[in-house]
């Protein structure tokens, strides 16, 4: 910083020869300018923090409402088999995801109550045979492969672990769509800094990797956490040939190979 200041001064004094008046003025301001420079620094600093932390997230996401205000809690209470009553596995091991209209009409051929949302649903969709354009919070880009079967059926994970307590909601939350990627905000997480408190707060690749690394460690396989991997990579590059062969799954990443999560 100091060298910069000196340079600045040098430049100003050169300028002074040709324009005496501003020189005088500049000299006068010199005392106060340290403060104003700092002030501008702080203004810029604070403004950009505000932009980065508050304005940017506001601008980045557009808000959309679900076509029907769906009450998960009510439905979970009414069905026998929890989430899988509507979000079920097909016989071939594929996961049905968001229910189709046909499933809803099983109960909602006609309105069951007085709820205006249900009436809207019956009138707009059931009667017209139109599929409801639900906005899916957990939709991933097309390059992602995810097997519900592997996680729920084989690893016996709970839905909540990734999806959170969505089954307890009475109204759907606002769907915030990333204007650049078109992906839901829930993938990056509500927290713009990417900090998560719960396992279901984020659904990025790193979140998958984090869990997989933990799982693998518990099984004493050679899968490393990202940090470990970073340092081990340095060791590997510096001392080639020292790695233990045969215990890891992937050659490049020490995690799983690409196709485990990509298609």
């Amino acid at each position: 910083m100091s060298t910069n200041n000196e340079k600045e001064k040098a430049v100003t004094s050169t300028g002074a020869i040709e324009t005496p008046l501003p020189n005088h003025e500049a000299g006068k301001e010199e005392n106060g300018s340290g403060g104003s420079i700092l002030l501008f620094f702080i203004v810029g600093f604070v403004a950009s923090l505000l932009v980065g932390w508050i304005l940017f997230p506001k601008l980045l996401y557009s808000e959309k409402k679900q076509p029907i205000s769906f009450n998960h809690q009510l439905h979970v209470e009414a069905v026998d088999d929890g989430c899988q009553s509507c979000h079920f596995f097909r016989e071939d091991g594929s996961f049905s995801g968001v229910p189709k209209l046909a499933q809803c009409t099983g109960c909602h051929e006609e309105a069951q109550g007085e709820d205006p949302e249900e009436l809207k649903f019956v009138e707009e969709y059931v009667a017209k045979g139109r599929e409801v354009p639900w906005l899916v919070y957990s939709r991933q880009p097309n390059c992602v492969f995810f097997s519900h079967s592997a996680h729920v059926k084989m690893a016996k994970m709970e839905c909540v672990t990734c999806h959170g307590p969505i089954g307890e909601s009475t109204v759907p939350k606002i769907y915030e769509q990333n204007r650049i990627t078109g992906i839901s905000r829930d993938i990056w997480g509500r927290n713009i800094a990417g900090v998560k408190r719960n396992s279901w707060d984020r659904m990025k690749m790193d979140d998958c990797a984090e869990c997989h690394a933990k799982e693998a460690k518990a099984e004493e396989t050679a899968v490393e956490s990202p940090m470990e991997g970073f340092f081990n990579n340095i060791v590997r590059i510096t001392f080639p040939g020292t790695e233990k062969p045969g215990r890891k799954s992937s050659v490049q990443t020490q995690h799983e190979a690409c196709f485990v999560c990509h298609k």
Partner: protein, 267 residues
Amino acid sequence: MKQDQARKYGMVIDLDKCTGCGACMVACMAENNVPFKEDESNKLDSITWMRVYQLTNGKSYPETDICYIPRPCMHCEGDHGHSPCVSVCPATATDYSIKTGIVSQIYTRCFGCRYCMGACPYHARYFNWWDPVWPNGMEKYLNPNVSPRMRGVVEKCSFCFHRYQQAMNKAFMEDRRELQENEYQTACTQACPSGAILFGDLNDPKHQVSMLAQPDSEHSGRPKNPKAFRLLERLGTNPKVYYISSREWVRRAGDNYLKNENPGKAH
């Protein structure tokens, strides 16, 4: 979860049975959303994960003979998984899975440097010079299990890995961890009307592929079957695609053998 017994998926192609009909190529294109252009006669930029090459014995009429040789990705294991393409990828967009022996690829991660194409001695990798275009309405047949690729990325045969995933999904539903031989088959294997392509786990001695190729684990998987050979055997890529031919000139065409060398007795 327990570490599964490592599988090593591979292919055995019987060149005596292969008729060069090209069904494997189209089965692959239809299964894997491989695009097509108006003019595909420049074979350098024509994307064919599976390509059937024609070999000739170089003799003149009427002693001349031809043989067809289908070439998928060889899914080289190299030395402990150091396949030529995986080693050079600066983007970690391609990887070798020790669990399945498959060289996988994340298309969206690839940034198109094409080092892997240079490294691959089998020309099994293809670059998307253009964005794929399906004529109006034809995108209806696209397979949701394979993501369509965009301009600027490299793609190649995946041994229809999505079919493995689907087979595993079904197995998990039935509380199984193991797959039957016929549960995971590539699209080309399934389609081949001659039954020339076999696919399975080279590590499983009960699978047809290992019975036919008889890979020698002491010698980087070299086939013990004297009629079997691999392409560019002596390059050390340790490919997982084996070929069988009863014609000696075909076996010799698999690598640049000298006159006094016999590919059947290479080791």
